[in-house]
């Protein structure tokens, strides 16, 4: 019998970070042909520069990986992959946010050419404990975690260390013996280094856009959630990928006086990314002002005196 293709199931509740993880695994796979089965192409933001072609329910990437839509029959989509002559080296299935990943994993044994590798469940450290208490989905979130071979905490590069530590403790109590991984450490391993800018205060949008337009080329990706002085009632989502950047307002209001930290994380190749250089590059984006000044600033929306990032 030909060698079997290992199948992993990626589960986790809605918004846990499954598609982000899958997207990263797809774009960063090197020397291994991954096939990823997803519920909705729309939610997977594959970098346009990585797309080699699209044929109906399959998107091919330049690195040899493919992303396929599950459509309305997971089993058929999976068997189709198993029976391709140029089949993948590994298959990852995105379980729907409300699925029991263990049931999805049953499909891995449903074809002679496939074998179950593992069940990975993604959890968002900021929301997982609240979800686990929710009357509608609490039991499901706990069921998903309990069925995991590996639990991946997403967004640990953005969430503060205290929250991460607390949630790790919680998971260790909730799912005794759970294997835990932090998303930045996963798979793409030590190849990348990150640099973080965090500020309790809103950022200067003009300075930020100027900094993004001239980003050093060693930054392969950056992301963040920020607040800007020019529109203090909004949060902005920052994305940098493949040399392009975007800074888009979320469409829900936030109280201008609530404390939302601004966080930007830049990721680059280890050895190339120079934190000192980035400190300089983003100087002027975040300022230090007192609370009274801030209230005044938010009222006026004017530019405050420039001070270097501490």
């Amino acid at each position: 019998m030909a060698e079997q293709i290992p199948v992993a199931v990626i589960g986790g509740y809605l918004g846990a970070g499954k598609t982000t993880l899958l997207n990263r695994l797809l774009s960063e796979a090197q020397g291994v042909k991954l096939a990823v089965l997803v519920n909705d192409f729309g939610s997977v933001n594959i970098d346009a520069a990585l797309i080699a072609g699209r044929d109906g329910e399959t998107i091919s990437l330049v690195n040899g990986c493919v992303c396929c839509s599950i459509g309305d029959n997971l089993g058929l989509a999976l068997h189709d992959l198993a029976e391709r002559s140029d089949g993948p080296d590994r298959i990852l299935i995105e379980a729907s946010g409300v699925a029991d990943p263990a049931r999805i994993a049953d499909y891995a044994g449903s074809h002679p050419r496939l074998a179950l590798d593992s069940i990975v469940v993604v959890a968002d450290p900021e929301t997982v404990r609240m979800r686990a208490r929710d009357k509608y989905v609490g039991d499901l979130v706990r069921l998903q975690l309990a069925g995991a071979d590996l639990i991946v905490l997403s967004r640990t590069d953005i969430v503060d260390a205290e929250t991460c530590r607390a949630v790790r403790l919680w998971i260790e109590t909730e799912v005794p013996g759970a294997r835990l991984a932090l998303s930045p450490d996963l798979d793409h391993g030590r190849m990348f280094t990150s640099w973080t800018l965090a500020s309790e205060l809103p950022l200067d949008g003009t300075a930020l856009r100027a900094a993004l337009a001239t980003l050093p080329t060693e930054i392969v990706r950056a992301k963040g959630i920020v607040r800007l002085l020019e529109a203090p009632d909004r949060r902005f989502v920052l994305q940098v990928a493949g040399g392009r950047w975007s800074l888009d307002a979320e469409d829900k209001d936030v109280d201008p006086l609530t404390k939302t930290r601004s966080v930007i994380v830049c990721i680059g190749l280890t050895g190339q990314l120079d934190p000192a250089r980035l400190d300089c590059h983003f100087a002027g984006v975040a300022r230090t002002v007192g609370p009274a000044d801030l209230v005044e600033l938010l009222r006026r929306g004017a530019s405050p005196p420039r001070e270097p990032h501490p």
């Binding site: 909705d40 058929l76 946010g97 029991d100 499909y107 044994g109 449903s110 002679p112 989905v137």
Partner: protein, 549 residues
Amino acid sequence: MPGPVTVFAAKKIITMDASVGEATHVAVRDGIILEVGDLDDCAAWGPCTLDERFADSILIPGLIESHAHLLDGLLWAKAHYVGPIDRPDPSGRLQKGLTDNDALIARLKEIEATMSDPTKPLVGWGVDPSLNDPIAPITRHELDQVSKTRPIFLLHASCHVGSVNSATLEMANYAAIRVPGVLRDASGAPTGELREMAAMLIAVKAVAADMIGGSTDAAQFYNFARVAQARGATTIVDGGGSTYFDPAFLASALAATEAEDFPARIVAHNNGITVPGVDDMIKFAKGLDGKGNDKLAFQGIKIILDGSNQGFTGRLRPPAYLGSGENGLWNRAPDELRTLVPALHKAGLQIVAHCNADQAAELFIEAVALAQAAHPRFDHRHFIVHGQMLDESLLRRMASLGIHATLFSNHLYYWGEFHRAHTFGAFRAAALNPAATALRLGVMVSAHSDTPVSPVDPLFTLWCAANRVTATGRVLGPQERVSAYDALRMMTFNAAYLLHRDHEIGSIRVGKRADFTILARDPLTVDPMTIRDIPVQATVVGGRVFPVG
């Protein structure tokens, strides 16, 4: 030029109209009711043909099956019915229920003997060991008695389990399959019982591939309508999941239903089940608006919140399932529903929500409350399908938000004992499908069969709502029994109301469509326990008579 006038005479016409309750004659022209009264009243429209073939019968408004699935028609087209429940087939012949494995094997042997091509698989549907006496599994040992060489595949009534013989196990290479749902004996050999799709998939692909994926087979539409018509339905709902937005499927549906002799009207819900994005859901639904014909219409968009109660996948409020305290599965994430429902509501669509257990209903009600707060709408007629565990509190909130329901009253008979013993316990089983409370609170409720889950039979469904008797004869929750009149109203006017068609069908009134069901006895005066046995003699759809049998 108006067509000729036909006057149907009946022993009694039960109109279900709020103002005029009874008559003996109804005049029809061009498919529309001209007059309802006695012969003289009808003669006011001038010369007419008097049709007296129903003069000794009871004429009621055409019965409406408010939730069923076209899959029923496809199963009749592609597979042999071999289940334990009596079902009339599309040719009108009664297929007697096979209630033990000996009867099943004998029937399969008969079918096998008529098959000429020795390699053609024998595919059957509808088996249900839980309703058999004695309850016994259907394994390869039973099916090998039918044939050791011809592949056999039997789909169970739940659609979650399959039974196969050794030939199928070999052909599909089950030796190499490692799925927990492939049941095995002590020696590790597959027993032939396949639980859930992951276990069944490779067998289905090998021997019944034409049962998966969309079929454009025209026979499915005719079968679907014909089986319902034989039990008195003049309108039947295709309750979501079908792919009318696909031009080939739509063309097939239109061609089938356009035929003069197509025996019932189909009202199809738009697909909010297999279409993934909300934008496409709205686009497809709006695209089908008005695309139907006289016997095919599109109304409402169907979404699914939870699973099935007897399959232990319904979403229950605490204390959840009897004994285990476990809960079922969401079909869509609650967080997604809180945006999906308001988006569909805002787009002006009518939302038809599958909520089997009470927590699913609670969430839907919560989502509609969000939608109403953001975009108040009158008369949307969103409704819950199944709603088996609704209680007074949920029903009151539904009444205030304008949500209605079609209840799964057939469950009381077929699964009432199972629910009492295995899923809900005594209290919750007695409170299932609370039609009386719903009607008292002003919620418009109908009831349904969900065929192929239970056989489509509106008179039987009416009987269930009126009597609440289980298969073993126990009355479950007598307080929730409704009068025969209310039960008939559930299956006529209320169903029409849910479908936004009460101005056209659902009662016998001047100006409405001439859709009638002809019964041998009066359902309002017989002992309610005998309503299910009243012979259906014919149906009339748009003035055209469709005999039964």
